[in-house]
């Protein structure tokens, strides 16, 4: 490191290094400030009982047990629906359409527009479409489906980038070997596109798990333990919002819930990377 710095000590190089390091320092400092704030207020409240008991007295007392279950179910529905659709669309856009085909461009543009739809509009739309038109009511299913619509653009665009980054040589060699496009896709392109897919998953889950406005109108506010996917279930982020903005005296548990959410996310991200490294990547060797 140091050696490299010395070797390139001309002015522009130094400036670039300074810029990069200060950008990183700024981001890290902001993050530490934010996370430090949460940890500072939250740590003393997190106990096993907090994690396993349902909330009492509008959330000021009791825990978040039932809310954790609802959150997991909502996230599960969201990923179960959005990953197959997202992956399929990304494959189509990256591998089966040309840059100037009308279908590809239209789909891509409509996804870009979708990525900017405000979360509250997703909420109102989800309420009208999933809860009323499809008759799912306030339920974990409605919430998960609404979130799936919301994370699709992120998932698709980043996976698509993953596919685009695979060198054309791979495809040409596969074609020369007489492999069908399906085989090429499953055994060659998919493993190579894993980093992109992973980023999409991380960003998508981050957005889904942090969502408030879209869920309050779809999965709802009920903090009871859900008995099926058709029950209404309060997500962690709604719980945090309600405690910090609507319930006087809910701040302490709001902080604790926020910390739980961050840790949960850390665990999910870790698992996703681990899976990607140990399972999907192995396929590239086993053709």
């Amino acid at each position: 490191m140091v050696k490299m710095m010395e070797r390139n000590l001309d002015g522009r190089e130094l400036l670039a290094s300074t810029l990069v390091w200060s950008a990183v320092a700024l981001v890290t400092a902001t993050f530490c400030w934010l996370l430090g704030d949460i940890i500072w207020h939250a740590l003393s409240h997190i106990t096993w009982t907090f994690l396993t008991t349902p909330p009492r007295n509008a959330g000021r007392e009791g825990g978040i047990g039932s809310i954790l279950i609802s959150t997991t179910l909502i996230l599960g529905v969201c990923l179960g629906v959005s990953v197959p659709i997202g992956l399929g669309t990304a494959v189509l856009l990256a591998e089966f359409t040309t840059d100037d085909s009308l279908f590809g461009r239209l789909t891509r543009r409509s996804l870009d527009v979708l990525s900017g739809v405000p979360s509250i509009v997703f909420g109102l739309f989800g309420n009208a479409f999933f809860c009323k038109t499809l008759g799912l009511g306030f339920s974990i299913l409605s919430g998960g489906l609404t979130l799936a619509c919301m994370v699709l653009p992120i998932l698709i665009r980043s996976t698509e980038e993953g596919f685009r980054a695979v060198p054309t040589g791979y495809r040409l060699s596969a074609a020369a070997l007489g492999l069908s496009r399906t085989t090429t896709l499953v055994h060659l392109l998919l493993p190579a596109a894993v980093p992109g897919l992973l980023v999409g998953l991380v960003l998508g889950m981050g957005r889904a798990i942090a969502e408030t406005a879209a869920l309050i109108f779809t999965s709802g506010y009920v903090d009871r333990m859900p008995e099926s996917l058709l029950d209404s279930g309060r997500a962690l982020s709604i719980h945090i919002f309600d405690l910090s903005m609507n319930v006087p005296g809910g701040d302490a548990n709001a902080y604790a819930s926020a910390l739980v959410l961050v840790v949960l996310l850390l665990a999910i991200n870790g698992t996703a990377s681990w899976l990607a490294e140990h399972w999907l990547r192995r396929r590239i060797v086993t053709i």
């Binding site: 509008a58 629906v81 109108f217 506010y221 009920v222 058709l230 903005m245 609507n246 005296g249």
Partner: protein
């Protein structure tokens, strides 16, 4: 070709399709359960509306569920207008409305469950102890813009107002005989806690919030103070006595006159058995 695609979809999402079919079967079942509720109080009540009321009604619902174990009370938050709209369209059994009923809402049966006061708040360090109604009007209409003019320090006033349509805003406008467009605000907020946090973070701010919220926070060391209105101290006690001039009723509403489970729940929510819950959520019971 499109049917072909639809078939693929069907296969791919067979579990989902099965689920939605389950839903279709599930709806009539719940309707049945409700009509049967008249005799033995079982079934499910869906209550939607004002976010202010949601925590209270959810707690009342939990107590009701513990009395009648086969009953499910689902409370959904989302605003007074949603409470009215959902009750009207029959999307919910009961709506929650955190304000007085309007002229064009006569078609609904409304039941008050509690009261809530609204009072001006300042930062604790602000030397101003009281403001007359005229001074408050002048501050909110931008005629007074410096604390010096009302006996405070020489600093510009930050006027914190509520967003259009919020019931606390309506109570405030009505009492001070103002129009929403007369108000010149520097900050516009949504929920009460946001108002408290905004004023707590700005020494020169003035805002108005629900008395219950303000009282709770002030007692627990948040640096705000509650201003009297018309010489009456702002406290839940004075709201209960009926002497505090700014207050609003909190309603639950139904489309038709309630029967069965809904009737039982409304009676329960208006009974003395829930007064402790009302106080616990920092609202004021209707009578003692």
């Amino acid at each position: 070709m499109s049917t072909c695609r639809a078939l693929f979809m069907l296969k791919k999402y067979a579990p989902l399709v099965a689920l939605s079919m389950a839903v279709l079967m599930y709806i009539p079942a719940s309707v049945e359960a409700q009509s049967a509720a008249a005799d033995q109080l079982t079934g499910k009540l869906v209550i939607t509306g004002a976010s202010t009321l949601a925590p209270l009604i959810a707690e009342i619902g939990k107590r009701f569920e513990s009395l009648y174990p086969t009953v499910r009370i689902d409370v959904q938050s989302g605003g007074s207008s949603r409470g009215v709209a959902d009750a009207r369209q029959g999307l919910s059994d009961i709506g929650m409305v955190s304000r007085a009923m309007k002229e064009d809402e006569r078609d609904l049966s409304a039941f008050p469950v509690a009261r809530d006061g609204v009072c001006p708040i300042l930062h604790r360090e602000n030397p101003v102890q009281a403001l007359t109604d005229e001074q408050i009007v002048a501050i909110y209409t931008g005629k007074i813009t410096n604390w010096k003019a009302v006996g405070g320090v020489d600093a510009p006033i930050t006027v914190v107002n509520k967003a259009d349509g919020r019931s606390t805003l309506e109570v405030f406008l009505q009492h001070f005989k103002l129009k929403s467009s007369d108000i010149k605000a520097q900050v516009v907020i949504g929920d009460n806690e946001q108002g408290v946090k905004t004023v707590a973070g700005n020494r020169n701010a003035i805002g108005y919030v629900s008395i219950g919220t303000a009282e709770y926070d002030a007692v627990r060391g948040v640096p705000i103070k509650l201003l009297p209105v018309g010489g009456v101290a702002a406290s839940t006690e004075n709201v209960q006595k009926g002497v505090f001039p700014l207050s609003r009723p909190l309603h639950i509403v139904t489309r038709t006159s309630p029967a069965g489970l809904a009737k039982a729940f409304i009676e329960f929510a208006q009974s003395k058995a829930v007064y402790d819950l009302i106080r616990q959520q920092y609202f004021v019971p209707l009578a003692d």
